[in-house]
Amino acid sequence: MRDYWLSKLFFDLQSPPLAEEYRADRKTVLDRYPLKPEVRAAVEADDVAALSRLVNPYLLRFYFHMAGMPEDDFVRKIRAAGVPGAARVRHG
């Protein structure tokens, strides 16, 4: 299950001007998105594990790259996040 507004935030942040604004003033940008309190808290805490359960993995990876988290940190945190593919669906 995806969190729509979290996904929308990450999707929108692919716009370079918005990404620049976000890096300069995260709170102002976050205020425009009706995130659930626990989701906003996870964003503000850079909680890779919590966010990984709510958003597509490609958008997750993009977001932390955009936000400036070093790749090694991200890889270490996502590997610690748990069982891969919790939301993976098998289709034949």
Binding site: S52, N56, L60, G82, R88, V89, H91
Partner: protein, 279 residues
Amino acid sequence: MAELVGIFASSHGPLIVRNWGNLAPAAKDSLNSAFSELGRRIKAARPDVLVVISPDHWVNFFIDNLPAICVGVGEVHDGPPEPWLKEFPHRTMAGHPQLGEHIVRTAVERDFEPSISYRLALDHGFCIPLWKAGLDPLPPIVPVVLNDLEPPFPSVRRCFGWGSVLAEAVASYPGNLRVAILATGGLSHSIGEPTMGEIDEAFDRACIRHFESGDTRALIDFLNERLPGAGNGASEIRNWVAAHGAARGRGFELIRYDPIPDVYVGCGFASWNINQRQG
């Protein structure tokens, strides 16, 4: 009548460009060699149009509107929006609306209902292989977006069927065109999930053997069983399956395979034996 003159596949990992400066010489040599040979074969096929099958990496589509298949029928497509692809030499690329629309009509007659777009932005999935293969000038492109990124995905069997539709559309196109197909993505890789960075080389090599053999039933069974465990990026092998369908299940010739940890991807390149008689 149009003619299918070549069917190819290529990996497209973003780090092939974004991390190029940091790649080991052996990785660069491998990728340069593979893309060079891919480019040589595509050029030798002399396509008037190139149908490129790739996922959309959250550029054109989002979870509020996410087609399983979308055919670009526009006269023009936009170049890649990724800032790290600003050196890509084309800000726009020509389309081929007549073939695109014919593919869509043929698909509907064959019980597929692809969405259409008159203006797609072609992201790295499309543009890295086109660029690195040295296709200059680029032939007009009919982009086909296949959803490999966000479940539910089209089934492997359905992707094979989609490829068959592409071949039918080319064969029935009422014009004199040389058409090639390029499927991009794969092989195994994991992005943004706990196995990030892992490459399943055993899976990749088994997968390649199935494509080489041309045994479609065995290929589909193998992928149904093993694809979900080969990393989320491996889902892009669905594009290769579509190419395999367009080749009517004829086997392919591997151009090169190397697992390259610095780009996170089991990098594969191939061309199908479309002139081989089927048994």
